[in-house]
Point group: C2
Chain length 433, copies 2
């Protein structure tokens, strides 16, 4: 019986896995450089945890199931609910600031179709317990540092906005703050909808106050300073938001990433729980899909009966990043890494050569050899195919003088070295050639 | 609304995650040293993939669900079916030998009770496409190398056996080879059942030929050589099995791990698909739970309509390893790692000090600072709490002479260094103190 892999799920063969690990290593390295600590949660949670945050509408996007005790679970579609649960459970014990990252695996019940993944990995960065826009700036800086780390520093731009600032700006064209949730949802979908579809949806709710066309040009054309002035003049909350945004903007300069950021009034994010800054990463060349999306959420743990803990963070999926690297022809070259391939030129020496393999591995070298007793030439071919840096040949010289031939496959140089010298300090012996 | 983590699932707070990563890093490092390549598969598969290998009985141990297209899926309870599917799909294209490893996350629908995990991680090592017992030996050697790597080299023993050899031995006490599947299942459960329960189950099937008591002493007391002789005299298949076992035993010596292995006739493993060697790792101090279990399976991909591909491999769970380390008081000390904590002694210099933080991070140092503008003494306390190796203070000296105070928190030594020197080559500047 032939069984396929499930639709929308990926198999990672070794060459795919090397790329995946390269990406994970870069996420992890940058997170640690910024002083973030890694955490993880379970692959599934009580279904309630997700509906509590996102409403019953989320259920159709989830893989849900019961155990024999009739408990309802769902495979996690995002990490934020788990983060909120974990922080709420220890809210008073965790030292502040809480600077955490994770690289969770997660699933969404997308309709199976080409290019739609049902399973993906997502880098999550969050700072909790800090109101200061310094945290927002550092979260954005770690994202920019990652793009720089993988060679996309000049290819990616961060679109940055503040929900209270947009709110004040929208008020000047007749949309009251209490109507924002729906407006943000529509504006968030603006770029992905056809102009006609957007017009229809927008005008149905807000057409009596501002037409879709006027809204679109208002969002596109109002410069950063004007927006901040509108906020300053919108009462104490607006003024505070304008002030916060200006601090954020200064901190982005301090962290050396302001050049990668642009104020963009259209960027509002669709989720209800953002309360302050909102931001997305996009390829400068265009493309609708955000590479990263995040913002400030100041009441997430409150949902879980925890104390109020302010937070700011983002999620970045693996697939869009890899896709952009591929489009820009910037995928890394990842050869299979092997330090040494050991060759036996005489099959009577095979036990002896396995013992050498064992010795080299104990020195933390990556070592392999041929499973078949075949000619030296064929073994050299295997060594090259595996991308080995060195070959060590055990043959006549070993029988006669206890010496081994060591060849550097990069330079082509080779040398005879006493076996004892190699056994004692193989790294030094290899590096000498 | 308060929501707990699901029963049997673990949250990994940063201190737990550091231990988890330490374990994964060791698994990965040892796998790569032995020339294995990493792969991964999806978190869930078609339910059929699991029932095909293990029968319908497996379903009650799985978390199963449907998508909206009425497809049946299950979260993976083990990695071998995925491995078989992936290899079968590319059987003719993959270069041999296939030496693969993986560290999958998986779930089993255990009854929720104390100490029973529903979610765990498992190191999988497999060699496919090789009949030679050399592969069995290398698979065992990589497990022993891992135990050595984490300081358990002398605490763990590998119990080793061969199913065709047991088969020949059992034939001498009246149990025919075609009855082995059930006999192996019972023998595998022997150590975990009470003597009475085992006697009852055994005698019901085989009591007319050999009593449970006689079987138990036969299994415990027949030495390795006698068993191999029994196999040699049991016809060509038995003789081949004895020969294979002797080659395996020699290769274990070549790889330097024979001292960690013991022949044990009772070790047969419960699964139906093993066809040759079988082995388990156990703590020498005793304890029923195997730390690792594996063996040779020569017809796994055949189940999936792939060509016959011989294989040998094992799985090792994360929890039993960590539990043993804890019992033996051998858990590693994993401090939070931070290279530098930057302190501003004058809050007017904060922008300047953030720019230094940015500079140090760009040199791949792990750097953090205080989110709050507080006294130098308090910032030093934060640095110590975070386990920083160095502190850099930006204060009066910077304003007057463009110098920074660098303190090595391990030795207590400190020194003033020009900021330009630190910015140019921070690693060298730090190491000089």
């Amino acid at each position: 019986m032939k069984i396929q892999s499930p639709p929308g799920m990926r198999d990672f063969y070794p060459e795919d896995m090397r790329l995946q690990n390269w990406l994970f290593d870069a996420w992890r390295r940058v997170s640690l450089a910024f002083g973030f600590n890694e955490y993880e949660g379970p692959i599934f949670e009580y279904l309630d945890l997700f509906t509590l945050k996102s409403g019953e509408g989320i259920v159709s996007e989830l893989f849900t199931f019961q155990d024999r005790g009739q408990r309802n679970f769902a495979i996690r579609p995002e990490m934020t609910p788990t983060l909120a649960r974990m922080v709420a459970a220890r809210a008073n014990a965790l030292p502040r600031p809480i600077k955490w990252f994770s690289i969770p695996r997660m699933c969404r019940a997308e309709k199976p179709q080409r290019g739609r993944l049902r399973e993906f990995f997502q880098w999550n960065i969050d700072v909790l317990g800090v109101e200061d826009p310094l945290a927002d700036a550092e979260v954005i800086a770690v994202a920019v540092a990652f793009f720089r780390e993988i060679g996309l520093g000049l290819d990616v731009v961060i679109h940055l906005n503040s929900r209270p600032v947009v709110s004040a700006a929208l008020a000047t064209i007749g949309i009251a703050p209490e109507e924002n949730e729906r407006a943000f949802e529509l504006i968030d979908r603006h770029d992905r909808l056809s102009p006609g579809a957007f017009r229809e949806m927008w005008d149905e709710v807000y057409g009596d106050r501002v037409s879709a066309a006027n809204l679109t040009s208002f969002l596109a054309e109002t410069p950063q300073e004007t927006c901040l002035e509108m906020a300053q003049q919108a009462g104490p909350e607006g003024a505070a938001a304008a002030e916060q945004f200006q601090v954020l903007w200064q901190r982005l300069a301090d962290f050396g990433v302001q050049d990668s950021c642009e104020f963009r009034l259209q960027t509002v994010r669709g989720l209800a729980y953002y309360t302050g800054s909102v931001f997305e990463a996009h390829a400068r060349q265009g493309g609708l899909r955000a590479l990263m999306g995040g913002g400030r959420y100041d009441n997430l743990t409150g949902l879980l009966d925890g104390p109020r803990v302010p937070g700011v963070g983002f999620g970045m999926g693996d697939a869009p990043v890899v896709e952009l690297l591929r489009e820009l022809n910037k995928l890394p070259r990842l050869d299979c890494e092997l330090d040494v391939f050991v060759i036996d030129a005489d099959s009577d020496l095979f036990s002896e050569s396995l013992s050498l393999v064992d010795n080299l591995r104990r020195h933390n070298l990556r070592v392999d050899f041929s499973y078949k007793r075949i000619g030296v030439g064929k073994q050299f071919k295997q060594a090259a195919a595996r991308g080995a840096r060195y070959v060590i040949v055990m043959g006549e010289e070993f029988t006669k003088r206890q010496e081994l031939t060591v060849k550097n496959l990069t330079t082509g140089e080779q040398q005879s070295i006493p076996v004892e010298q190699i056994r004692r300090d193989p790294k030094a012996a290899l590096e000498s050639i």
